[in-house]
């Protein structure tokens, strides 16, 4: 019966870390390719950002107006800032997907 060789824990840990890192890198790459496919997910995600930005900006401005008796100026300001903030969130997520798509394209080109 073969006797198990003494286990070199450090080597085992190093090997484990190596496999884990390889897997994590693979996950990031696979995700880049997969994200490009879920257009519906992106649509669901981005659509609401703008609406909420405008609604919260305007609502917040309106509430401040009622409180400080400055109607309608803070509401107008809130509308503009809310719109900009909503747009900023939309751009941010669009930019993120753009980067992932670029990464997926780059990975494809390397494979070919």
């Amino acid at each position: 019966m073969p006797i198990n060789p003494p286990i070199d824990e450090a080597a085992l840990d190093a090997r484990l870390a190596e496999v884990r890192n390889a897997r994590d890198a693979e996950v990031v790459r696979a995700d880049a390719a997969r994200t490009a496919g879920t257009a519906m997910g992106i649509g669901l995600r981005i659509g609401i950002e703008l609406v909420v930005g405008v609604a919260i900006g305007t609502g917040g401005g309106f509430a401040l107006d009622r409180w400080l008796h400055t109607a309608p100026w803070l509401m107008i300001l809130g509308l503009i800032i809310g719109f900009a903030a909503g747009l900023k969130n939309v751009f941010r997520s669009a930019d993120e997907y753009g980067q992932k798509w670029d990464a997926a394209d780059a990975a494809d080109r390397v494979e070919k």
Binding site: V27, G41, V51
Partner: protein, 241 residues
């Protein structure tokens, strides 16, 4: 026609009040318990006798685990894994609540903004604390993006701050609005099936298709919520570039 909003009414199953505070056990509380229980039972079944070649329940649990793990790693990096338990819990709760909402006579807890906002708010506060713990006051630099003229900060900083603070709101509104709108639409269209008589076959077909779409939306929304929590976590863990 039946009231399409009737399905969202919270009714008190066990009325209860302590010190004037209404803490009744409602149908919503009951369904929250049911979906948490269902998720727990699935996990327990899948992990009861773990095997190298997984059975059905174990496969399901492993797939759910991998989806969340891959989402975390790809959106927030491997060091975000330490938040796996919370993110997995959120994902499982929303997934089960959304899918359970498709069952007849069930109650969709995620169609209540108070539920979705509570989850989003917990994530938002947690992520902000993680950001401060990780980057200290450098976290505030997020509100002042570099590389613009000083005068622009007067406009940019309020916009950045607002766009940061609407995150939990857009996160919760997205989930609640999708679940509520889908269920209302289904109910309205189903109402036409009865009132249109023989022509009711047309809305019936649409309802069948809509149900399939709602099943997709239920799963997708749980996923989108999880992805966004991870994306926000990414901001907190890694300094802005």
């Amino acid at each position: 026609m039946a009231d399409p909003l009737h399905q969202f009414v919270v009714t008190k199953t066990i009325p209860l009040a302590i010190g004037g505070v209404d803490i009744s056990f409602t149908n919503a509380s009951a369904w929250m318990l049911i979906v948490s229980g269902a998720a727990a039972v699935l996990l327990w079944l899948g992990l009861r006798k773990p095997q190298l070649v997984p059975g059905r329940a174990q496969s399901a649990v492993e797939m759910l685990y991998e989806v969340v793990d891959e989402t975390i790693v790809s959106s927030a990096g491997p060091e975000a894994r330490k938040f796996f338990p919370l993110i997995f819990t959120v994902f499982m709760f929303i997934l089960f609540a959304n899918v359970a909402g498709l069952l007849p006579y069930s109650y969709t807890v995620t169609s209540q903004i108070v539920v979705t906002f509570t989850i989003a708010f917990i994530a938002f506060i947690g992520i902000t604390l993680v950001g401060i713990a990780n980057q200290g006051f450098g976290f505030l630099r997020m509100f002042a993006p570099p590389g613009v003229p000083v005068a622009m900060y007067l406009i940019l900083t309020p916009i950045e701050i607002v766009s940061y603070f609407i995150r939990p709101i857009s996160l919760s509104v997205r989930l609640f609005a999708n679940m509520m709108a889908g269920h209302v639409l289904l109910k309205v269209l189903a109402g036409f099936v009865v009132t249109l008589g023989i022509f009711g076959a047309i809305p019936l077909l649409v309802v069948v298709g809509m149900t399939a779409l709602e099943a997709l939306v239920a799963v997708l929304q749980a996923y989108v919520f999880t992805v966004l929590v991870c994306v926000y976590l990414n901001d907190a863990l890694h300094a802005h570039h």
